[in-house]
């Protein structure tokens, strides 16, 4: 049971009004949320400090131009924010933010976390033909009914962690039958309560709609199985990996947009991994041919070993891949096994150390003996 603030407005309008209230009443000095950027269907995250600008906020638009966790890291990397702000981000973005904070790449101080039970986002491509708004009615319909929309980002259709873990306020979206009439804000923490104090709307106490959430989870888990099977049906192995990454341009865009890959200079872009002429010549001698540049499979497996245990399944990497490689599906799949192995879920708990930074003395007993 938690306190719930109900605003008698459709959900997106309601939350926007709430954000306006926060800024107007000086509860926060800034709002970090999605905002319309210039021409139609362009959205970007923005820090809004002027109440006037709130009208352009689009907090629940189902699109993710960048993982907000990564953006908040750039905001708070040098030092913590001095004045309070509220952020409206999705659960996987929140999880990325937590992962980055654990790794001292971000700072959560003075940040009020607002998230939602997340119905997913569309691929970035779907906002490029001017028809994005036509997708929205169906989206909200599916959200209401706890259904999986096939046109979402593939990793969204298969995401089971769509209920935010550490949010101060959770907007009820998934399976919320009233979302076109009212906006329900679940106040999970004292920080959340504090924010909502004096806000327009009615307070009640209520639980999140567990039944509907469970229904969606079940559907998504089924999708997850299917999705993983789709990359696995080449049976992977060396031959499958080679085929999967055959069109890879080595642009490393997947790494660039990954919130977990925070290194300023990725190991795989460093001189260490630039091969020499003699390397290519010896490959040529041994195999009769060598791919140039080298290291495509090495990059992807290496990146997995570095960070897949913290992969939050956000799907950014697939979306920016110019070669349409299902990078996120692979990383999620590999990540899931690693997370099971170490009994770890990225971003569920700020105090839980990343698996690579800790150990248990008597784990994996017998190994190597």
């Amino acid at each position: 049971m938690s306190d719930v603030l109900k605003i008698k407005k459709p959900v997106e309008e309601g939350i926007t009004e709430f954000l306006k209230f926060l800024l107007e009443k000086n509860k926060v000095k800034g709002i970090f949320t999605l905002r319309k950027a210039g021409k139609t269907d362009s959205f970007s995250y923005s820090l809004i400090t002027d109440v006037e600008e709130i009208k352009n906020a689009a907090p629940l638009t189902p699109i993710m131009p960048a993982n907000a966790g990564q953006l908040l890291s750039s905001f708070t990397l040098e030092d913590a924010i001095k004045e309070p702000i509220a952020v409206v981000i999705r659960p996987c973005e929140l999880r990325a933010f937590v992962e980055l904070t654990k790794r001292t790449q971000a700072n959560m101080e003075n940040i009020y976390l607002i998230s939602s039970t997340c119905a997913g986002v569309f691929p970035l491509k779907s906002a490029q033909n001017g028809k994005f708004s036509q997708l929205l009615p169906k989206y909200w319909e599916a959200a209401k009914k706890s259904e999986v929309l096939a046109s979402l980002r593939p990793t969204c259709t298969a995401c089971e962690h769509f209920v935010p873990a550490l949010a101060d306020i959770t907007i009820s979206v998934v399976g919320n039958k009233n979302l076109t009439e009212e906006c329900s804000l679940h106040l999970n923490t004292s920080k959340g309560e504090e924010l909502a104090q004096g806000a327009p709307g009615n307070k009640t106490t209520e639980k999140l709609n567990d039944k509907e959430l469970a229904q969606l989870k079940e559907l998504r888990l089924k999708e997850r199985e299917k999705l993983f099977a789709s990359v696995n049906d080449k049976n992977l192995g060396l031959a499958g990996l080679v085929k999967t990454f055959a069109p890879c341009l080595s642009c490393h865009g997947c790494r660039q947009v990954c919130p977990i890959c925070f290194c300023t200079l990725c190991d795989f872009d460093s001189k260490t991994h630039e091969d020499t002429a003699s390397h290519y010549q010896s490959e040529l001698n041994q195999k009769g041919g060598a791919r140039v540049p080298s290291g495509t499979i090495f990059f992807h497996t290496g990146r997995m070993i570095h960070m897949a245990v913290s992969c939050v399944n956000c799907g950014m990497c697939s979306d920016v891949c110019p070669a349409d490689i299902p990078v996120a599906t692979l990383f999620s799949m590999v990540g899931e096994s690693l997370q099971k192995l170490f009994d770890y879920l990225p971003g569920r708990d700020l105090e839980e150390p990343a698996p690579s930074e800790t150990f248990i003395e008597n784990e994996f007993a017998g190994l190597g003996e």
């Binding site: 800034g30 970090f32 905002r35 950027a37 210039g38 021409k39 269907d41 362009s42 970007s44 995250y45 923005s46 820090l47 809004i48 400090t49 002027d50 006037e52 600008e53 352009n56 960048a66 953006l71 750039s74 905001f75 708070t76 990397l77 040098e78 030092d79 913590a80 924010i81 001095k82 004045e83 906002a127 490029q128 085929k243 055959a246 069109p247 341009l249 642009c251 865009g253 660039q256 300023t264 200079l265 872009d269 460093s270 001189k271 630039e274 091969d275 002429a277 290519y280 010549q281 040529l284 195999k287 009769g288 041919g289 060598a290 791919r291 140039v292 540049p293 891949c321 110019p322 070669a323």
Partner: protein, 402 residues
């Protein structure tokens, strides 16, 4: 500095004519096969189709069976070939006699990278080939069969080319001048007509001549027919470019319109990472230098009421432009790699052209020419200092002569 495209040809060069009854690609691959078998070449760097896929990857090969899947002119540009050659030669000497088969814009990128000391030509024979363009990567990956057909069609007719990328449609440097005193490649492959017509192997440098010699090929065919054909297409494409750039310029000029082009940009820097000219190991715009304190973020947000994340998208594009537009070869790699379908290469190509004209510089067309910014004339650009007293140094007209 001289505009290479204006250099006069000393003696009319000739080429070796190769019959192409079974199509030009087979004919070219046949020559390569023979070159490997006779050890005229030790290895060739060429796009090869990855078995059981529709994708091409660059392969340095000596095993002739690999040539079966090779394609000297694949329907798409995967990684920009100039960049690939730089990856191959950047660290250390190549001891073998290797040829690299590149499109003209890739060749020009290779030449620019050579001038930038990111690539060497020691033991490398650069083979360039006339190019009808390339299909947009995303289209090709979505519908390879259809794309292959439309590409073959373009290659056959050298016309009706709206199937190819925008920068290719308006590319008037789809061939390379074969000037021995101002070489780009060592050997140029001229395609004079449709896909069954003879292929011309035109030696440009002694390296190119040597290969023909080793292959027992005589460069005794006149280039006249080919040159006429190239001139014709060039004229059409130049006009198209002029018109396109004129309209496009109107659409993107001024701060508001320019910003609007990049509205959708998500700052992934794919454009920069695939650009052959952007060779920096770590781009300035990815470096720690660009990191700000949280207060700076706030200050900048308050100045405008709202601050877009990530910051400085436009600064990135303008900065990149000022760094490399003089060497932009209009290859279109950046646009192919943009997940937001932004017309990056069209912008860079247009801006590049204007900057290059100001310096009377054509990137990559002549190995012996120095980079525009590594050179100066004492009395140039007087219009910058004392505008009333002089004529502009360089004219701003597009030069269209070969």
């Amino acid at each position: 500095m001289t505009a290479t495209e204006n250099i006069k040809i000393e003696k009319p060069p000739k080429g070796a004519s190769i019959p192409a009854k079974e199509g030009i690609k087979k004919a070219i691959l046949g020559v390569f096969k023979k070159a490997l078998e006779t050890e005229a070449l030790d290895a060739i760097m060429i796009p090869v189709k990855v078995p059981e896929t529709e994708s091409y990857a660059w392969v340095l090969l000596k095993d002739t069976t690999l040539l079966e899947n090779a394609d000297p002119l694949p329907p798409v540009m995967t990684i920009q070939g100039g960049k690939v050659l730089s990856d191959l030669t950047k660290h250390g000497k190549i001891n073998k006699n290797i040829a690299a088969v590149l499109r003209p814009c890739e060749t020009r990128a290779a030449v620019e990278l050579f001038k930038l000391k990111q690539l060497h030509f020691e033991n490398i024979t650069l083979i360039s080939i006339d190019c009808p363009g390339a299909i947009p990567l995303s289209e090709y990956l979505a519908e390879p069969e259809k794309s292959k057909k439309s590409f073959d069609n373009v290659l056959d007719k050298w016309d009706g080319d709206d199937a190819v990328r925008k920068v290719c449609q308006i590319c008037y440097r789809f061939s390379l001048p074969t000037l021995t005193n101002a070489p780009a490649s060592d050997l140029h492959i001229g395609l004079s007509g449709n896909t069954k017509d003879d292929v011309l192997l035109i030696p440009v440098t002694p390296k190119g001549e040597k290969i023909l010699e080793r292959l027992d090929l005589k460069a005794d065919s006149s280039l006249q027919k080919w040159e006429t054909k190239i001139k014709e297409i060039k004229k059409i494409k130049s006009q198209r470019r002029k018109k396109f750039n004129h309209d496009f310029k109107a659409n993107i000029s001024g701060p508001e319109k320019f910003t609007a082009v990049f509205d959708g940009c998500i700052n992934c820097h794919n454009c920069q990472s695939v650009c052959p000219i952007c060779y920096c190991q770590q781009c300035y715009f990815d470096s720690a230098t660009t990191k700000l304190s949280s207060e700076d973020y706030f200050r900048r947000a308050k100045e405008r009421g709202a601050l877009r994340f990530p910051l400085d998208t436009i600064l990135f594009h303008l900065g990149r432009m000022s760094h490399m537009a003089l060497s932009c070869v209009s290859c279109g790699a950046c646009e192919d790699a943009c997940p937001m379908s932004i017309s990056v290469s069209q912008v860079f190509s247009l801006v590049g052209e204007q900057t290059q004209q100001a310096f009377n510089y054509t990137p990559g067309i002549n190995r012996e020419e120095s980079l525009a910014l590594q050179d100066y004339l004492e009395d140039e650009f007087c219009e910058v200092e004392t505008p009333s007293e002089c004529e502009p140094t360089n004219s701003n007209e597009v030069k269209e002569n070969v």
